[in-house]
């Protein structure tokens, strides 16, 4: 067992090892924060744990006088709503368009080059156009996410459609299936697991677009809050928000993985 690749950690040491970087980062932060406060008690850049607790309990529990809401939850729901709508529309568009364009040769010849070009347009560069056309409200934010993510999902779904062995498609026809029946009975069920992974891979980009849109214009939202309090150097709000966004992204990723595993035929692969 001389080679590094053959030395395997046990279950327990895996958990310990995995936790270690997190603990190290937190400890390093605490030490650095203490050191800065020893020099300047009013330091704002690296607030101590007490400052986090105070700032966050205000946002989580106290009702804001301006809006009449608990800001932390209002921000969370606003961002999750945007993300959900954007991802939902992208998934449905990606699935439907990807299947039809991927499966029907005439549609493929017509639209494949167009989608390839579309997916190369940088979404943030067209954001001003979206604001001009759709206004500064929710619509342009949803369009931004869809514009940023749907082309990727469409292409991924199309790739999966192309991976279905020709033999299956021919067999289906010899069993009497029409194009529509093949879409419903052969293509859709085999593409669904890929759609889930595709949405999973898009989560990071979706958050990016939500936060970018919120940074420019919004009344609430996690990204909006971060960029708002930036002016007061309120690291005691920004850092917990970043951690919270990361946690939400992780939870969504995990949920999508559970959904993927719940599809029975993903457990039994061809040739297994």
């Amino acid at each position: 067992m001389g080679r590094a690749i053959n030395r395997l950690p046990s279950r327990r040491s895996k958990i310990l090892l995995g936790a270690m970087p997190f603990i190290l980062v937190i400890a390093a932060y605490a030490i650095a924060s203490d050191a800065r406060h020893a020099v300047d008690a009013g330091d704002k850049l690296m607030p101590g744990l007490d400052a986090f607790r105070a700032a966050m309990s205000r946002l989580i529990f106290d009702i804001d006088r301006m809006t009449g809401q608990r800001l932390f939850w209002a921000d969370t729901w606003a961002s999750l709503g945007r993300l959900g709508i954007g991802l939902g529309i992208s998934a449905v568009v990606g699935l439907v368009v990807g299947i039809f364009v991927g499966f029907i040769p005439y549609l493929r010849a017509t639209f494949e080059p167009f989608f390839a070009a579309l997916s190369l347009v940088p979404p943030l560069a067209v954001l001003p156009i979206l604001f001009i056309i759709f206004g500064l409200g929710e619509l342009s934010k949803a369009v931004l996410i869809v514009f940023g993510i749907a082309p990727f999902i469409i292409r991924d779904v199309m790739l999966r459609v192309a991976e279905i062995p020709r033999e299956q498609i021919v067999k289906a026809q010899t069993l009497g299936a029409s194009t529509w029946q093949m879409i419903l009975g052969v293509v859709l069920p085999q593409v669904l697991p890929r759609l889930v992974s595709s949405v999973r891979l898009s989560l990071g980009a979706a958050w990016l677009f939500v936060i970018a849109a919120e940074a420019i214009t919004a009344e609430a939202g996690l990204g909006y809050r971060i960029f708002l309090v930036r002016r007061y150097l309120a690291m005691d709000v920004i850092l917990p928000y970043v951690v919270w966004i990361t946690f939400l992204a992780f939870a969504m990723d995990y949920a999508l993985r559970l959904i993927y595993d719940a599809i029975p035929w993903t457990r039994f692969r061809e040739g297994g």
């Binding site: 062995p165 033999e167 299956q168 021919v170 067999k171 289906a172 026809q173 010899t174 069993l175 009497g176 299936a177 029409s178 529509w180 029946q181 419903l184 009975g185 052969v186 069920p189 085999q190 029975p264 035929w265 457990r267 039994f268 692969r269 061809e270 040739g271 297994g272």
Partner: protein, 253 residues
């Protein structure tokens, strides 16, 4: 009834001539085995019969009617691999053909019709020896079991012609023997015409009532693509004699 006729059929891909002027009549209830070296065009021959490929010239007729230009339920197929649907259980795989034919929009039957079809599917699975595996997914089956499933699935829609492209090529000898027995039994039960492509000469002569070999008859070393394959030999195999005798006996007695 299914008499298949190849009428001056030629297939080329670009400059490459694959099959050259094939003329062939396959009798009803024949078990035709097609042999030939790799790349001779056996799969191409089968694909044209399936309408997965169109002949470059000439035509293929079944009972004197040109075949449809896309795959249809009158011609069933079993490939060497990938002929079953990995996302459906064994039972649902066998039910798919009849469901598609009966329910154009949803592709699903409900109620009494579904129960009836399920019973028929289960009977078919019992027949091919998969009765106890109805609720498994194909990937949980062995290679031989997957081919049994593919055959059962194809037979559910009562094709006139069953096409087999090296269906047992990936199986071990023992399993292959069992499959031979099953195919011969099903062939006589279902009264269909079978066309099977194989690499294995002994398999061809064991199963086939007629064996044809396709190969290039001329070879130009400077332009190997110039000439396509033709039917170089045509044997009426022993099983045909046996069957003819059997029929004569039946007619007499």
């Amino acid at each position: 009834m299914a008499v298949i006729r190849f009428d001056h059929v030629t297939k080329t891909y670009g400059d490459t001539v694959v099959l050259e002027n094939i003329n062939l009549t396959i009798d009803d209830n024949e078990f035709l085995a097609v042999v030939g070296p790799s790349g001779a065009g056996k799969t191409t021959f089968l694909r044209m019969l399936l309408s997965q490929e169109a002949p470059t010239s000439g035509q293929i007729l079944i009972d004197d009617v040109p075949i449809a230009d896309e795959p249809m339920p009158d011609r069933g197929i079993v490939f060497q691999r990938y002929s079953v649907f990995p996302h459906r259980t064994v039972l649902r795989n066998v039910m798919m053909g009849p469901e598609w034919l009966a329910a154009p929009v949803t592709g699903r039957l409900f109620g009494a019709k579904r129960t009836e079809l399920r019973d028929r599917a289960q009977a078919m699975l019992d027949r091919v020896g998969l009765g106890g595996h109805a609720q498994l997914y194909p990937a949980q089956l062995s290679g031989g079991q997957q081919q049994r499933l593919a055959i059962a699935q194809a037979l559910m829609t009562h094709p006139k012609v069953l096409l087999l492209d090296e269906p047992f090529g990936a199986l071990d000898p023992g399993t292959r023997k069992e499959m031979h027995k099953l195919v011969l039994e099903l062939w006589s039960e279902h009264q269909m015409t079978i066309v099977m492509v194989t690499h294995d000469l002994s398999e061809a002569f064991h199963l086939g009532t007629r064996v044809i070999a396709v190969d290039k008859h001329r070879h130009d070393p400077h332009a190997p693509h110039r000439y396509g394959s033709v039917i170089t030999s045509d044997f009426e195999a022993k099983p045909r004699l046996a069957r003819a005798l059997q029929r004569a006996e039946r007619a007499a007695g």
